[in-house]
Amino acid sequence: MKMFLQLGLILLAFCMVATALLAYVNSFTKPRIEAIKLKEAADARNELIPDSEFEEITGDLSYYIARDKTTKEIKGYTFTAEQIGYGGPVKTMAAVDKDFKIISIKVIQQTETPGLGTNATLPKFTDQFKGKTLDQLTVDKDGGVPPNAIKALTGATITTRAVANAVKASIDKLRASVSQSPETAALSDSTAALEVAK
């Protein structure tokens, strides 16, 4: 019986000490890590649509509305799209203007083959998305004809499709949810009214 308690208590002691230490470390790293995460996300958004402030909308598709810092005018939307590529999910963050034309995109997380699929993170690839509309988001191998298409990465069509199709699908969803949301509908109404007024 004594041995029982002895073993149990020793292990208990070690666990407690270890946990205490970890909890302590965690208590000051956690805020930092969270801050870093938030900052990264914010940085990414800012990179996509500079000089804006963002408002998060959660729902079927979570996205951010970007407004001009000064005019508070809606500049566009950012969101994260995801689809399975060659080696796992590929996450892309994209920004579109209010006509749903792509401002720019950034592949933020992927586990594709180095040298092939990973090339999707390079500006050479992402830059071609700039200014594309929904209809132009077809990979050339799938019949799209440049410049109205996305040129596939050499030897990595699967990754290319994953990025293009994910963005495409998300824009579709975004459109749907934007038109539903009364607030934004009102906003766009007001801008429309403004234009009419002009």
């Binding site: 270890a18 470390v25 790293t29 956690k30 930092r32 870093i36 180095p114 040298g115």
Partner: protein
């Protein structure tokens, strides 16, 4: 001077990767670039040294029956500390090492050294052993990574070393390339040993 001896043995004579063949998972997974290799090596060395110190301190108060769970708790704590601190202070490297930071816990080298060395030696020698093994691990990892990064990407520590016209041999960055590269390095070690 046994401190020096324990320190240096891990680098060549008892290199954890080439000679003892432990800790293969991180070796192969994180040696795609020299940068990753150095990061992983450093993280593992830190854990190794800390756990060696600690375990050699507590070796006398742990009953045999729960030795392994206790050691494992000690190691896991240091690993988590590394994990959390890396996430907080060097997020970029943390991201690219991914899953393999928590797996340092089971990196066979660490428990292996705990059992084989720290369990039986004093603190000072355990520190030396930890540093030596850690350095050996880092060194071996970097050698593998050097070959893989150069052949598979044409770069070394992200510096372009091969001409633009070089069409990288992707396989070296993939699983089979990792195995084969390490296999040949070990064969080379064997050959050198035979020559001697």
């Amino acid at each position: 001077m046994s401190f020096i001896k324990e320190l240096t043995k891990g680098i060549i004579k008892e290199n954890p990767i080439f000679v003892i063949v432990l800790g293969m998972c991180p070796t192969l997974a994180t040696s795609t670039s020299v940068e990753n290799a150095l990061g992983m090596g450093m993280a593992a060395t830190f854990v190794l040294v800390c756990s060696n110190i600690f375990i050699s301190l507590i070796k006398n108060i742990t009953p045999d029956k729960i030795r392994i769970p206790v050691y494992v708790v000690v190691i896991a704590s240091f690993v988590t500390i590394v994990d959390l601190s890396m996430a907080a202070f060097i997020p970029d490297l943390h991201k690219s090492l991914g899953l393999f930071i928590p797996l340092i816990v089971v990196n066979c080298i660490i428990l292996g050294r705990a059992e084989a060395f720290a369990n039986k030696n004093n603190v000072l020698n355990s520190i030396a052993d930890g540093i030596g093994m850690g350095l050996g691990f880092t060194l071996a990892l970097s050698v593998v990574a050097t070959i893989r990064e150069i052949l598979g990407n044409g770069t070394w520590l992200n510096i372009k070393v091969l001409p633009e016209t070089y069409d990288p041999m992707l396989i070296t960055l993939l699983a089979p390339g990792a195995f084969i590269t390490l296999g040949f390095l070990m064969a080379l070690m064997n050959m050198l040993k035979e020559k001697k």
